[in-house]
Amino acid sequence: MTENWLDGFFHDPAVDGHSDHFLLAQDDSSHGIHAIHHGMIGTPEVDSQFHQHQETPFTCAVASQRMILNQFGIPVSESQLVYEATSHGWLSSTGTSTDAMGNLLSLHGIPTHSGQGIESLIHELSQGHKIIVGLDSEELNGIAPVFEDWIHPNGADHALVVTGVDLSDPNHPMVLLNDPAVPDGACKAFPMEQFLGAWNDNHCRFIATDDSPPNLISDPVLGHGFDSESKMYMDNQFWSNLALMVVGTVAKAAVESMLSAGGDHQDLAPAVSMETLTPEQREMLYYNI
């Protein structure tokens, strides 16, 4: 068993061995997986129009949040965001801290939540939510891949936007990113395995918006499959079939339990916060501080 069981999700030999068999499942034409979607989860083409190149070495998280804000129709400059982040103590010359990664979104009225793991991430993408992850950029870009984890087991140093997961070739799943680090960072594709290695340095954590950008529903491809009841692009059946097709029964079960639970970020969502205090709790707090 690998150290992080999530690593094994796409590359568990016991599961991969069955992939030929599961390819048969794509024949489910009633859902038209290939016709509509070609195994693409998320909206990388739409998102790529919003790519921004970060203006300083330490504003990757700020630029990533800016992409999302712009996509939600909030035109805001990087310098404005840098001001806001600095004046709130979220940003310093070493960058944005992991737990402050979605704060600028919240500040501008885009609520976010955090989550963990590739299944949750796919679930978020399937709902059109926008996602920021922290990861180890050197490992992502393939620098010293063998020794990297050994030397810096927790070397998350970069934030970027995940725009899609491309499963059209089940044997070579890809992750699509809007990377603020470079001017041509829109819609960059990385092998899933490489992405997971780099992301694992941040314990596969992500920040996701609670909602999808307003214009997604009118997207010619995705909007067509929007299910208003589950608030998902494509229905549950589509996603479990896709999982079955790509990664097998274990993944199918995982995806199904995830869908029924509405994503497993439940266990990560805070039970209390300063925002959700009841008047009684607040009064107690007042007396006790």
Binding site: S87, S92, D99, A156, H158, H203, D267
Partner: protein
């Protein structure tokens, strides 16, 4: 970006553990740790702001939060009350009142408009606090406060050392950080301020940092020169290394300009990013780390118990594969009868002996409180004797009445503080010893031979444990005991009892704050009637004595009530918690017996599938355990 922070790690460990627990048919495993998780999530950090009048304290807070005009800054009207500022979705001001002297109940807080603040919060609107205001609560939608930072703004007073001690005792002991405000124009740090800081750092807290305001008014050179002078004085007088004193120079005015124009240049010049970074990235993070470690230790206990349970399940299936079920059934039957016998015979006597030790401690502490806080006792007699022997005229005594009462209150606070600390230490020891004994007794009934070893080790290690004085008990000894005690499901459930029990112990300083709030009773100067100077002096002394005695009676009652509350809570929970732990162990044994019966009917293929899936769960838990261990004991270097 930062390295993985402990809060994020521990919450993700929670999620991983919850998933494994659910798969293993123990969905409620983590329910017991919910309070620790909520503590971490709320992440309260109490920052108390102190300083003399006219140092720009309120302007500083308004600038820090980015809400100009939030707290009244009008220098003509001295703010006379405490403001507690916390996050709220909408701006709101609420007046909180002191408990009624007769009934001891607090009136309902009053929601007010900001323009009415002066009626309650200033000397002009509320002279001598006739409206009995305790403090004013302020909610404000400031993101800086969203992660649990709360500010307590204490009234600025001239002659801070004398007049401010009551407030200091009420708020400083509970502070996670104390910010002391100095300025760049009025005067360099004064003797009054030094005396105040000396008492603060020697008796109450060392978590003090400094802000020097109004750097714009002084010009950068003068402001820098004052910073140097102040640092020299602080370092010399307080005995702190100069480069280890957190000291920030700021301009609230420039911060205001920066906020208005979104000017990064003004923001940098205002000096605010440094102090915000310090608060957010050091102070608040450090507290988060402590809370994360506390939750991490509890989760570690949960993970250990789950792993042991799964290991036992696997043993049973393996035994089934090798036709060894009868032997293992015999082991469990023996364990159960030993346990039943132990719980009938030995356990009640352990509980009894715990109750006895605890009862002794309670009586001893109560006697001490009654003796020391005796209205007819030495504290008051010697105070009156000293005043009588002094050269003070009746008028002077009358003038000084408030100060004398304040001094007595401070002595009471100091006594209650140390008594509570001693009580908590002794109570913690009694609980630890009882748990170690119960654990040890239980271990003899256990089928897991490793448990006995680890409990012996526990007792060895317990001997060496002593409490650092400034550490709240619930962060230290009990957590450590529990770590050590973890030998199987057994050690785990009995050790968890310890956490629940000590959580009934108050942090000692909360008690002091309760005493200090009696301060509303302290009255001002005493009216004189008689004309003969000797008679006048005696008459005033008698009145003063009466006041001090009434103060003492109230303090004694408050201290006793608090102790009673703690003891009742503890006594009530002890037996109940021990029963819960025993019940949990009994049902654990029952569950294993059932698994043994079920295993009998399994086919070879089913057994193999079970063993494989249990092995996977075990390895997942091992990964979680490694993660939790790294949160609790963070490794220094990352390179091998």
């Amino acid at each position: 970006m930062d390295k993985m922070d402990p809060k994020v790690s521990v919450i993700s460990a929670w999620a991983e553990l919850a998933a494994i627990a659910k798969t293993s048919g123990k969905p409620d495993l983590l329910a017991r740790f919910q309070p620790a998780r909520e503590r971490l999530e709320l992440g309260l950090f109490r920052l108390v702001v102190m300083g003399e009048i006219k140092k720009g304290k309120s302007s500083f807070i308004n600038a820090l939060l980015g809400f100009p005009g939030l707290l009244p800054v009008d220098s003509d009207i001295a703010t006379s009350t405490v403001f507690k500022v916390m996050y709220g979705k909408e701006k709101a001001f609420r007046v909180f009142f002191r408990p009624d002297a007769e009934s001891g109940k607090r009136p309902t807080p009053l929601l007010i408009n900001p323009e009415n603040l002066n009626e309650y919060g200033t000397e002009g609107g509320n002279p001598e606090n006739i409206k009995n205001v305790d403090f004013i609560g302020v909610e404000v939608p400031c993101p800086l406060l969203a992660n649990g930072l709360v500010l307590v703004d204490t009234p600025g007073v001239g002659g801070l050392y004398k007049a401010h001690r009551d407030i200091t005792w009420a708020y400083a002991p509970n502070a996670d950080g104390l910010l002391f405000v100095l300025d760049s124009v009025e005067t360099v740090i004064s003797q009054d301020e030094i005396s105040f800081l000396k008492e603060l750092t020697s008796k109450i807290t060392k978590k003090v940092f400094f802000v020097q305001t109004k750097s714009d008014a002084a010009g950068s050179e003068q402001s820098k020169a004052w910073q140097d002078r102040n640092l020299d004085v602080l370092s010399k007088e307080l005995g702190l290394p100069r480069d280890r004193i957190p000291y920030f120079t700021v301009s609230s005015k420039l911060k205001g300009v920066a906020d208005k124009r979104n000017s990064l240049k003004h923001l940098t010049e205002s000096g605010f990013p440094a102090i915000q970074g310090f608060i957010q990235n050091q102070l608040v993070k450090e507290k988060q780390k402590l809370l994360s470690q506390s939750l991490g230790r509890q989760l570690l206990a949960g993970a250990h118990s789950l792993r042991d349970d799964i290991a036992e399940r696997r043993k049973i299936i393996v035994a089934a594969q090798q036709s060894g079920l009868e032997a293992i059934r015999k082991q469990y039957e023996d364990a159960r009868s030993a346990f039943d016998k132990w719980s009938r015979v030995e356990c009640p006597s352990e509980v009894k002996s715990f109750n006895q030790s605890f009862g002794d401690l309670k009586r001893g502490t109560l006697n001490k409180i009654v003796d020391e806080l005796d209205p007819e006792g030495p504290m008051i007699i010697s105070a009156i004797r000293n005043i009588r022997a002094s050269e003070l005229s009746p008028e002077q005594i009358s003038e000084k009445a408030r100060e004398i009462q304040n001094d007595s209150l401070v002595s009471i606070c100091e006594f209650v503080n140390s008594t509570h600390q001693q009580f908590n230490k002794s109570a913690t020891k009694i609980i630890e010893a009882a748990i170690a004994r119960i654990g040890n007794g239980l271990a003899k009934t256990s089928i897991n031979p490793e448990s006995e070893f680890s409990i012996q080790q526990t007792q060895e290690q317990l001997k060496g444990i002593h409490l650092p004085d400034d550490l709240p008990t619930h962060f230290s000894t009990l957590d450590r005991t529990r770590d050590i005690l973890m030998g199987g499901t057994l050690g785990y459930s009995i050790a968890t009892t310890g956490i629940i029990l000590t959580s009934a112990l108050f942090p000692p300083l909360a008690a002091v704050a309760g005493i200090a709030s009696i301060l509303g009773i302290v009255v001002g100067a005493i009216k004189q009637s008689s004309d003969s100077s000797v008679r006048k002096k005696e008459e005033i002394l008698a009145k003063l004595k009466g006041l001090l005695q009434s103060l003492m009676r109230k303090a004694q009652k408050a201290a006793r009530d608090q102790l009673e509350t703690i003891c009742t809570k503890l006594e009530r929970s002890t037996e109940q918690e021990i029963q819960t732990a025993m019940g949990a162990y009994r049902s654990h044994l029952e569950a294993k017996m059932q698994e043994i019966s079920a295993a009998k009917n399994k086919t070879a293929a089913e057994c193999k599938a079970d063993v494989d899936s249990l092995a996977i769960q075990e390895s997942k838990i091992t990964a979680v355990l490694a993660k939790l261990n790294s949160i609790i004991k963070p490794a220094g270097a990352t390179a091998p």
